[in-house]
């Protein structure tokens, strides 16, 4: 009964997403190196995206669960291949 009235999962997710936003915002106010700043931004961005997908877009809560997750993993795999393949081709592997 209490569980239905109070969506603890979503509230926790909301708090966590605020924390992530605060951490990302801190990069601007704190004095740190470019590399460290970028690393923090990238990591928080991806966690934030996953969080939104699972908690607020209800990715795992319908019958389509498998199709949705397959799609997400496929997308991540292709994005990684494209990004790192491009870096390899145009920068690391360029003679």
């Amino acid at each position: 009964m209490m569980k239905e009235l109070f969506p603890i999962k979503q509230v926790m997710g909301f708090v966590f997403s605020l924390v992530l936003t605060a951490v990302a915002l801190a990069v601007y106010f704190l004095d740190m190196s470019f590399q460290l700043g970028m690393t923090i931004l990238l990591v928080t961005a991806f966690i934030q995206a996953a969080l939104q997908l699972v908690f607020f877009m209800h990715a795992g809560e319908s019958n389509d669960k498998n199709a949705i997750y397959t799609n997400v993993y496929y997308a991540i795999a292709i994005a990684l291949v494209t990004v790192f393949g491009t870096l390899l081709t145009l920068i690391w592997g360029y003679m």
Binding site: Y74, A75, G85, T89, G93
Partner: protein
Amino acid sequence: MEFFERFAIPHPSPLIYASMVGIGLTVIAIVIGLTYFKKWGYLWREWLTTVDHKRIGLMYIISAILMLFRGGVDGIMMRLQTAVPDNTFLDAQHYNEVFTTHGIVMIIFMAMAFIIGMMNFVVPLQIGARDVAFPRLNAISFWLYFAGAMLFNISFVIGGSPDAGWTNYFPLAGTDFSQSVGVNYYMWALQISGLGTLMTGINFIVTILKMRAPGMTLMKMPMFTWSALITNVIIVFAFPVLTIALLMGTFDRQFGTHFFASTNGGMDMLWANLFWVWGHPEVYILILPAFGVYSEVIATFSSRNLYGYKSMVGSMVLISFMSFLVWVHHFFTMGHGPLVNGIFSVTTMAIAVPTGIKIFNWLLTMWKGKIRFTVPMLYSIGFIPLFTIGGVTGVMLAIASADYQYHNTMFLVAHFHNVIIPGVVFAMLAGLTYWWPKMFGFMLNERIGKWGFWFLSIGFCLAFFPMYITGLDGQARRMFTYSAETGFGPLNMVSFIGAALMAIAFILIVYNVYYSFRYAPRNVGQDPWDARSLEWATHNPVPEYNFAVTPEVNSSQAFWDSKKNNHQLFKEKRSKIHMPNNSGVPVIMAGFFFVFGFSFVFSIWIGVIIAALGIFACMAYRTFENDHGRYISLKEIEETEKKYGGAK
């Protein structure tokens, strides 16, 4: 007057003026014809506003055949120009424009439209659905494609055609080297039709995942539907890359950014990279539906079920992922080291393996089958050896070190025509002939069809096999002429003769439509080919609602089971059917997109703003529109079914 100077053609010729007159007269003739026969209302109600997947499919296919004509004329002009040494039929600039538009028209506006049209017509029937998941979106997809195609096609009479090759490499395509608006046309025509394609991708994934008939699990889908699913997955992942690359290119050309410049922190190779990140999956977007058509046709006309269903599906899933791993093989020679070339060389050769599996499956389907040599089957049988030659030369090109010899020669041109023509064009002609009775209720003449097949196949061999030889001898692609001393002359003449035979084949195929329309018997029944999959379980031509009763399925060839194994397809009782309403919004919105693209090409900002407002107005209208569709009453269904001669 100054305002209109920008629309002048930078490099005119009598040919272009003749085309202007031709286009003008055709438009006038169409308008007069429609008015005289009072067909405007019919056109608007039945076609321009339709959301019926069958009609949208037909409009795609008709557009594709028109584009095949346009691209074919470009092709013949190129073969004519290079038929003899030092020819002066076209000059260098015109030749550049012709090979550029030939490539884009054939790939984006012919092949893509053909496969999407075929998917539109067949997929909902094969899965026992009444329409696609989002019929209105489907209409928008088509009209965006059509707006893009028309925008691209007016380029050569208004403002000048793109001339930097269909690959449009920067910095050649940048404003430094391409000053006319030609490349702007390229950017916006592809952008607009690409948006339509992306919507189609989403639409069909949802349709296939959500709207299958009861009992049709994923592994019981007909093979063409499987190929459509995989194709649309690739579309959804590949086309956004093109969208962004085109946008960056537009910014470079019209707003002075330097994404693809070689100075100011830009990187010219980035265009080639992004183009092929989209471009290589695009190749598989074209070929997989073709494979699907062949799977249906070969199984039907061998009177056997498809050999190796699971390995067919597996190899397509593998291809869908691997198609994203090979793009660098398009520019092996552009300066990366042996490590990069080695990696992409291996992935490229590896992707030939799942393709090979499919070839063997088709051969084994025919093995010991009772083969009927109909026109669709002839195309399928012709496809296997010709496509294999194209595939093997592809593996030759995949050897990075050897590619330094082949790169940018006619060898490459021969290779990709060798996979695309027997792959895609043969498949679409096979599919068109095969599903023709489904579309129109009569069959195409077999005799004329066979003449068409032989002209096309022999013409194809004569046109493209000589290019392998001249390519290895060093004839570069896109070279508008050559001297007699090179010795390329005789083989290029053979090539021109081949192209002429292919043109005759095209005429025969079009004539066949006319001939069959006049003389072919109607009432061919619902199963003229003795076919196997679900689309043949309804009438020819298909009634608006597809199936009076939703079929129930328990194998990938449900219709065959219902004929031979006493499977009962239709168990439910008939009841009223819910269908979507027609809408004029898609075509109006695409009209705004056309104006938007055209204004953007010429940097007429007031036009851009007005058209953009129009587009948003259409979206807002849709948002607040209250449209719950309509019902076809039981009485109407009974009448229709009776007209078709009493259904089961």
